[in-house]
Symmetry: C2
Subunit: 344 residues, 2 copies
């Protein structure tokens, strides 16, 4: 039994004494302790060494007081496990040295034995679970098929992933073959994370907002829903289709445990579009953590008031920025903890 099971209770549809709170990228560059490890070990060493991944995952639990830990890892471990080379230059973003162009490229991708090939993730989860000592839940995660396709086709970050959209729109058969293959490795990967100790999982569709609504329905949603259907019997699933506001009505009817929101949608609008039938997570603009602390506190209170305190997980609308002072991150978390339902 977890000492703090707020997040799980909300995901299971129960009312809680206050909303749970965690932050995307909470284990990251704004923490001096993280920067010390970053100076000593390169990115994939940190990701692939269970002791380091565990230590990094624990940092915000100990120092910021979040209501959940999220395993330190990267969405691109899946393309790696499929046989693609991923280079990560600090501060520059990822580079995939060979991108996907043909059916032969797709056929060459290996989706067998993910549990073995990404065993370091499962080890990190098991280690962290032990380290957490039942204090707060542990979140596992993966990138959504469309977002992974973006990197696998484009080879690097992009403002609009034109090549990836072009690939899907002009070669839909090939795109679906790739998306299905990513889905088919992601499901056992997340299942293994749950078996290793993840109490819930989040699927990051970071670039879904670049798709036209009809293309989201074709190239993103079916694969998100396959993952959801396969996993929801084992653990709660949070979907974060960043920017895809138009999909909220449909996704809210999917039986998903929660939907993550970026900051570019008003909480009231999101509640209206989902007709209060689903837990929502988000959506503080990460730059607002650079406001003076009293203003952060006011803004957090306004956000919770706007979402309503139930069926709600407080979070940022995107990852925390590296230049956020630690005490500001802590103020964000504390503001949620101070929110008493008596007030509301």
């Amino acid at each position: 039994m977890l000492k703090n099971d707020l997040l799980l209770r909300v995901l299971n549809g129960r009312e809680t004494e206050r909303p749970p709170v965690w932050m995307m990228r909470q284990a990251g560059r704004y923490l001096p302790e993280y920067m010390k490890l970053r100076a000593k070990y390169d990115f994939f060493t940190r990701v692939q060494t269970p002791e380091l991944a565990c230590e990094i995952t624990m940092q915000p639990v100990d120092q910021i007081g979040v209501d959940a830990a999220i395993i330190f890892s990267d969405i691109l471990v899946i393309p790696q496990a499929m046989g693609m080379e991923v280079l990560m230059e600090e501060g520059k973003g990822p580079l995939l040295t060979h991108t996907i162009h043909t059916l032969k490229d797709i056929d060459a991708l290996n989706i067998e034995g993910v549990e073995d090939r990404l065993s370091y993730v499962m080890k990190a989860i098991a280690l962290t679970k032990k380290e957490l000592n039942d204090s707060v839940p542990l979140i596992g995660f993966a990138g959504a098929p469309w977002t992974l396709l973006c990197y696998m086709v484009e080879g690097k970050g992009s403002k609009s992933f034109d090549k990836a959209r072009q690939f899907c729109i002009t070669q839909p058969g090939m795109a679906h073959a790739l998306l299905q293959k990513i889905t088919d490795i992601t499901i056992p990967y997340l299942r293994a994370q749950i078996r290793a100790g993840a109490d819930l999982v989040q699927v990051f569709d970071s670039w879904s907002g670049l798709l036209a609504p009809a293309d989201f329905e074709t190239f993103a949603q079916p694969y998100l829903l396959q993952i959801l259907r396969a996993l929801q019997q084992y653990a709660p699933v949070i979907l974060f289709p960043k920017g895809s506001w138009y999909a909220l009505p449909e996704l809210s009817r999917s039986g998903v445990s929660a939907i993550g929101l970026d900051w570019c949608i008003d909480p009231g609008t999101a509640r209206q579009m989902t007709e209060n039938r689903v837990v929502l997570q988000g959506n503080f603009d990460p730059v607002k953590l650079l406001l003076p602390i009293p203003q952060i506190k006011t803004a957090v209170k306004e956000m919770i008031d706007a979402f309503g305190p139930h069926q709600y997980i407080a979070n940022l609308g995107h990852g925390i920025l590296p230049n956020v002072p630690v005490d500001h991150a802590r103020a964000f978390v504390e503001s949620v903890k101070e929110y008493s339902l008596v007030k509301s």
Copy 2:
């Protein structure tokens, strides 16, 4: 009197025999004739030499058959006119060597005599107007204050313009001073474009979709509306707040001549949000121009059907991509021209 005044008639609220069509960045890198000039003259030489700007502006009118010309220029001529250095490395995007940090930086920006300092734009417009010989209307344009602030504060392109958002949110007084100053130079600049011969103007708010709805209302919308109010008595104004779907209901009540849409909103949703009270422009996903021509034709017909043929300007949802074959661009335009209202 223009021989083809379809666009102006639609902007003036009249029903037309078919929707007018033009393409954002229609004078650009997909055209071999443009590439020849690009090989000979650097970016700002092309922008600042009226004969070259005119020649480039005319290319898609002659070769693609669009219903309007849009003057070849750049939104960053305004920061340049204000005294900022803007470097443009081909294929790399803009770089502003000194960015805005303090009130002193803002005070140093010069907003006087824009008509003189950007006289090359007005000369290019006058020359093009003559060259067009009343065939189709000529569109003038400027960047919106928020989007220009993005570049002036961040110094270069960015996926999320965190520094610019941080500047606005943590120093709103300074941000409003800067936004007002940009507005105060943009109004006489667009007025001068109209006097020089522009038949209508479009304001590009390329990064407004990065703002939370409340921040759009604070930092983008008031300045867009100031520009609209100041100019609508002289010529039709199209606002293109890219990605700010949430602002559609409010903007549709502003008296704007038309609102531009990116491809990430369904035409039916946009019509619903604007309750048929405004002309809409857009929103073909630019990558769809890479489909085979018969599929382009089908997709264009579906798009017009979805928007409805009246109160509608056919366009892309963003600039045309450099790798689009010329005959595909032409097929897009021809598909709109073939759309007969008898069918609808």
